[in-house]
């Protein structure tokens, strides 16, 4: 096999001799990864975060403005359509998640994809359709404080989660704190999150005993709620947007990171990893 011509597009699954230079990384990876390196004074500026949930209340003091909001509708024959969302938040949960991301990454861009409202029977289809749409839009971070137990969706969700991983879209998904099989948080291509009880929003732990990979703040969290209100809340679904916010900080500082590199950075800067430097 001859040396490749400069600029020639190589198949991604092989590396001919002498072409290792083409794999030069855009960022020099430091000998010791610290939080200072990972996000420094990043505010998440330039990072697009999608809240896949019950909708988000626009203009809530803890949320601010949205880049946009759509709703996923499920028709007869399980046909999925994505339309402009005029209803906002049907429950309060999506607003709470958006507010948490905003509190950590104040300058990131927030986008709401509402997958609630199609009835229970259409909920798995709406979740899958909404996730697929969000991955196609190229958001850097998708916050999924939800999952499905319907095994019929597992295979398709797995494919979408892998597609997102290779397209540099990070899925941050809530783990279950009940002993049930559910998806997509169990897939290794996503960042799965459970709760810890510490009060610091930037304290997070790497879990060496998966499937849950990280624990973030999820107990007694002050959140945004419907009608400009606030509430204190507990659950893995509130730990997840903490990790999404931290992902936005890191990607604001290092936009070129792949999901693999981002997850490695989160591991190296976790509160229980020696040398985290913060």
């Amino acid at each position: 096999m001859s040396d490749p011509a400069p600029g020639r597009v190589l198949p991604a699954w092989s590396l001919p001799a002498g072409s290792a230079e083409s794999l030069e990384l855009p960022t020099a990876w430091p000998g010791r990864v610290t939080r200072e390196w990972a996000w420094g004074d990043s505010t998440g500026k330039g990072v697009r975060v999608c809240i896949l949930d019950s909708g988000v209340e626009r203009g809530h003091p803890l949320v601010g403005e949205l880049e946009g909001a759509v709703a996923v509708e499920v028709g007869e024959d399980d046909e999925v359509t994505v339309v402009e969302d005029a209803e906002g938040d049907l429950c309060g949960h999506g607003t709470a998640c958006a507010g948490i991301v905003r509190s950590i990454a104040p300058d990131c861009t927030l986008f709401s994809v509402r997958v609630l409202g199609a009835g229970f029977t259409g909920s798995g289809t709406a979740l899958l359709g909404g996730l697929r749409w969000a991955v196609e839009q190229g958001f850097q971070v998708i916050n999924m404080s939800l999952s499905t137990t319907k095994s019929q969706f597992a295979g398709m969700l797995h494919e979408v989660a892998d597609a997102a991983y290779f397209r540099r879209t990070v899925l941050v998904a809530s783990a279950h704190n009940m002993p049930v099989e559910s998806y997509p948080w169990r897939f290794s291509s996503v960042i799965s999150v459970g709760s810890h009880e510490e009060p610091d929003p930037l304290t997070y732990f790497y879990n060496p005993n998966p499937p849950v990979e990280f624990f973030a703040r999820g107990v007694d969290v002050e959140v945004a709620w419907l009608g400009g209100a606030r509430a204190r809340s507990t659950g893995n679904s509130f730990a997840t947007p903490h990790m999404s916010g931290i992902c936005a900080l890191v990607l604001g500082q290092h936009p070129e990171l792949t999901p693999f590199q981002l997850k490695s950075t989160l591991y190296l800067t976790a509160s229980n990893v020696e040398g985290a430097g913060g």
Partner: protein, 213 residues
């Protein structure tokens, strides 16, 4: 007459079972209210035929007005919990008219300041949602309590599933066109026959059983 007697006997069993399971579910919400020192507790049943959540049992505030009321399956906090299978705890919700978006507040006029809601799962299917409303404000929620809530939800899910099954059995009995009812009628007629016709009937049924084996 014998036909009616058999149906009545089966119906008595089914009805008793529905009533016992309803009492079990009621006891479950009473205990939930007790262990969390809450002002109220309730269970929604998910009705697949209409894609709605139905108030099935309530202890404490709102118990008189709520039973049997229905809400769409994917709105409000209960809808979110049903769809996402994620438990949620909310406290100190600012008093705001739009917090009326909570189902119980809308239906009974009782506005809770906080709630815990947990999905009731039977295998991979959610069968309903358990709510616990207004725990004492001074008690900070812990992950240990979340686990307790999860364990308790397993028990409540079994109660709800038993009730659902008893209702299905009753519906089968009331629907005169089903195969099960035809069999019940046949058994009743056989029971009413005198020998030797009865004996011949039993032999015929035994032969049929062998044939279908």
């Amino acid at each position: 007459m014998a036909d009616d007697r058999l149906k009545a006997a089966v119906a008595a069993g089914v009805l008793a079972s529905e009533e016992a399971n309803r009492q079990l579910l009621q006891a479950t919400v009473e205990v939930a209210r007790g262990i969390f020192s809450a002002r109220a507790s309730s269970v929604f049943l998910y009705d697949e035929t209409t894609d709605e959540l139905v108030f099935e049992a309530v202890a404490g505030e709102g118990s008189e007005t709520l039973i049997g009321q229905r809400i769409p399956s994917s709105t409000g906090i209960a809808g979110w919990v049903l769809v996402t299978r994620q438990p949620i705890v909310l406290e100190d919700v600012t008093q705001d008219p739009r917090w009326g978006g909570h189902e119980i507040a809308e239906r009974s006029g009782y506005i809770p300041r906080g709630l815990m809601a947990v999905p009731l799962l039977h295998g991979e299917d959610p069968v309903g949602v358990l709510n616990v409303l207004d725990r004492p404000q001074e008690a900070r929620f812990s992950l240990e309590e979340m686990e307790l809530l999860g364990l308790f939800a397993n028990q409540a899910a079994i109660s709800l599933d038993l009730l659902r099954r008893a209702r299905r059995a009753k519906a089968v009995l009331e629907d005169g066109d089903t195969d099960a009812v035809a069999l019940a009628r046949l058994a009743a007629r056989l029971e009413a026959l005198e020998d030797p016709r009865r004996k011949a009937g039993v032999e015929l049924l035994n032969a049929l059983e062998l044939l279908f084996r």
